[in-house]
């Protein structure tokens, strides 16, 4: 057991760090700290340019095989990239849905044609993707999808509605889970389709949120079309492919996320020192717990990394990590507001209407809901790790 990096890994770290220092400058200097959950609207076009700049230098899709345009980096080096990226306060990526979710799914399940058609666009950030999973009234229950698709000649025709779709208003394509066998139930009869967004049958409506921003959207499919060949995996077996995508969602970027959390926590601590809130023993204890919680999340991620080479089932580990970070982040938001005190009530004008602590508070509350609610995670842990019986289903 050791926590030190090999010389080779340190060399990768230095390369990344140096490149970021040199490149997050000039036009890009102002992008530090921009974007991210609750702030996806910030400097969007500039961040697209930055992502393409990263791509040109070969810093996208690091873990993909070299044959598909990646660098074939191992887990630890990917973690190092994310750590350095977060430490440099580099802007939130715009292409992450394609890079982290669809790309690996296509590499695993896509046809040769699909890979050739789509992987370069993801890798070079020339095509942006969004994820069409959630539906109104379905929430965490993906298997109750009711968006329908039917094959007519050379095309799939889609009708239905998706919701909570991040970045749909800027995406070129959407990967959609749709019911392609009319009377099928639950997990059966679903297909995983790739659908172009720029067409008459697709309408995107932003959802205004309590943060005053609207990075989530509803998508309405009304006779939307896509080519018959653009189904990933066999028709009717979309559930398996969709689950694989969800698996990729729990990637190494959590380590980078923690660097961001650390920056937020440091900010709250600094504010507590400035305004004297640190003298309140309850707040002080909360800050110490938050610090310890963050350390534990970091260590857990490192441990998960060490274990991931063993091929063990990572679903439960991901559930544990999600449950903990979501709860931690919500608590930090609450703590930040308590530290800030009365001044935390005043805001400026939209869309930049909230200071970082208000945004942290409002957005972090949603963490325990998105990406699988706390309740779902606890079910997974109790059933898959502890072996407790499933709840009776009607």
């Amino acid at each position: 057991m050791d926590l030190t990096h090999s010389a080779e890994d340190e060399a990768v770290r230095n390369e990344i760090r140096t490149w970021l220092e040199e490149n997050l400058s000039g036009d890009f200097a102002g992008l530090r700290g921009r974007g991210g959950p609750g702030r996806e609207h910030e400097a969007f076009d500039e961040r697209v340019a930055w992502d393409r700049h990263l791509a040109a230098a070969g810093w996208t899709c690091l873990g993909w095989p070299e044959g598909h345009g990646g660098r074939g980096l191992g887990l630890i080096q990917k973690v190092i990239f994310h750590e350095e990226y977060a430490k440099a306060n580099a802007p939130a990526r715009v292409g992450h849905i394609g890079e982290e979710l669809l790309g690996p799914t296509l590499i695993a399940y896509g046809t040769e044609e699909q890979k050739q058609r789509f992987l370069p666009g993801i890798r070079n950030v020339t095509e942006l993707w969004c994820q069409g999973y959630s539906e109104p009234g379905a929430g965490s229950d993906l298997a109750s999808v009711s968006t329908r698709a039917r094959l007519e000649g050379d095309s799939w025709i889609l009708d239905g509605q998706k919701v909570w779709t991040s970045l749909a208003h800027v995406a070129d394509w959407c990967f959609v889970v749709a019911r392609t066998e009319p009377d099928s139930k639950r997990h059966a009869g679903l297909s995983y389709l790739l659908v172009p967004m720029d067409q008459p049958g697709v309408e995107v409506r932003p959802i205004d949120q309590l943060t005053g921003t609207s990075e989530f959207n509803e998508i309405f499919f009304d006779g939307a079309r896509t080519d018959a060949s653009l189904v990933v995996g066999e028709p009717g077996e979309g559930w398996k492919v969709a689950m694989a995508t969800l698996g990729f969602e729990r990637g190494v970027s959590t380590i980078g996320q923690q660097v961001g959390f650390r920056r937020e926590l440091d900010g709250v601590v600094a504010m507590a020192h400035e305004n004297g809130a640190i003298e309140d023993p309850v707040i002080r204890d909360g800050l110490v717990r938050a610090r310890m919680g963050l350390e534990v999340m970091r260590l857990n991620a490192l441990r998960t990394l060490a274990g991931s080479s063993t091929g063990a089932d990572e679903g439960p580990a991901a559930s544990i990590a999600k449950l903990v970070w979501a709860t931690w982040h919500r608590s930090l938001g609450e703590l930040a507001m308590e530290v800030a005190g009365a001044p935390s009530l005043v805001a400026d004008a939209p869309p930049y209407d909230l200071d970082p602590w208000q945004r942290l508070f409002l957005f972090a509350r949603a963490d325990t809901i998105y990406g699988g609610s706390n309740e779902i995670q606890r079910n997974i842990i109790s059933e898959r790790v502890l072996g407790l019986p499933r709840e009776p289903r009607p």
Partner: protein, 330 residues
């Protein structure tokens, strides 16, 4: 010995609830948040007709000479329906400050609903609520009440609470310390009752949603984790309310423990309402987080009220201090 609301008080609460339930308050709140005060001012008048604004004003000035318990009844209803406007300032703080001074005309205006007053209490913040629409603005600094000069409106974390910086102008009156303490405590009490009411609404909204929304083929309200979380909110609210009532009694009786009791009420009501907001959001899922859904009106309101009129840290510290000052009493 009867630790319960009187029949009159329960009747008062029902009348207020009936009026407010029929007033589409979510729409009133949204308009108010956008600076369109018409509907809110109409509602102010109708509540005034029921006596809310004049509760603490003297009978001679058209008020009701009601007590602090009556006040909590009214403010719980205001919180339950998320009624916007400077109610705490107009109906609790200022009447409690100005009773017995020469400000009879002002108090008569409060009781008649003609005066909409707001105030900045300098040791609790730097902004006053809804100073843009108020007819009177004050600054309470120490024991002195000044007229106030308001700056531009800022949006706040609760868009329906429009906050303005206010500077002290001409002195209005210098008060006894006991009066200012009691008046500010009365305002804190009113805020606590509002929190209770908002918490009740959030619990009810969460329960309604849990009963109707299905997931994995069952009403989500059948799932035990959710049921127990909602049960815990019911408990938290049921246990905060008596603290609010005891604090009201302490203020009414002029007890030396009144400040401690008011702080305990604020902490408990804030915690309960906050937990209700958190769980309501969790129960609703992502939709509870959208602006178009009414739930958010109460969630942001609770967020603001938890911090307004003294942060939890301030009130917790007061309770700590009061309790640990007398060792045997911790």
């Amino acid at each position: 010995m009867r630790f319960a609301l009187t029949e009159e008080q329960r009747g008062f609460a029902e009348v207020l609830d009936d009026l407010l339930a029929a007033s589409n308050t979510p729409q009133v709140v949204r308009s108010w948040a956008h600076g369109d005060h018409d509907a809110g001012l109409k509602l102010w008048q109708r509540l005034t007709e029921l006596g809310v604004s004049g509760l603490l004003a003297p009978e001679e000035q058209g008020g009701l000479d009601a007590d602090a318990v009556d006040l909590t009844v009214a403010f719980e209803a205001l919180g339950r329906h998320a009624v916007p406007g400077p109610w705490v300032e107009s109906a609790a703080l200022l009447p409690a400050l100005l009773r017995g001074t020469d400000q009879d005309e002002f108090l008569a205006g409060i009781a008649s609903g003609g005066n909409l007053a707001t105030a900045l209490v300098t040791d609790m913040g730097s902004h006053a609520l809804d100073a843009d629409v108020a007819t009177h603005r004050f600054v309470l600094h120490g024991t002195t009440l000044y007229g106030g000069v308001a700056g531009a409106v800022h949006r706040s974390v609760d868009p329906a609470r429009r906050l303005c910086p206010v500077e002290a102008g001409a002195e209005v009156v210098d008060l006894a310390e006991a009066t200012t303490v009691r008046a500010v405590d009365t305002a804190v009490l009113a805020c606590s009752a509002q929190l209770l009411g908002a918490g009740e609404h959030l619990l009810r909204a969460a329960v309604d949603h849990a009963r109707s929304r299905k997931q994995f083929g069952r009403a989500i309200g059948e799932y035990q984790a959710l049921k127990h979380a909602l049960a815990d909110i019911r408990v938290a609210l049921d246990f905060a309310r008596p603290l609010v009532h005891v604090a009201a009694l302490a203020l009414r009786e002029g007890s030396s423990d009144a400040r401690r009791d008011v702080s305990a009420a604020k902490v408990a009501a804030g915690d309960a309402a906050y937990t209700a907001a958190r769980t309501a959001l969790q129960v609703h899922g992502a939709i509870g987080y959208t602006e178009e859904y009414d739930l958010g009106l109460w969630i942001t309101k609770v967020r603001a009220l938890v911090t307004a009129w003294g942060t939890p840290a301030l009130h917790r510290a007061r309770v700590h201090e009061a309790i640990t000052r007398r060792p045997v009493e911790v």
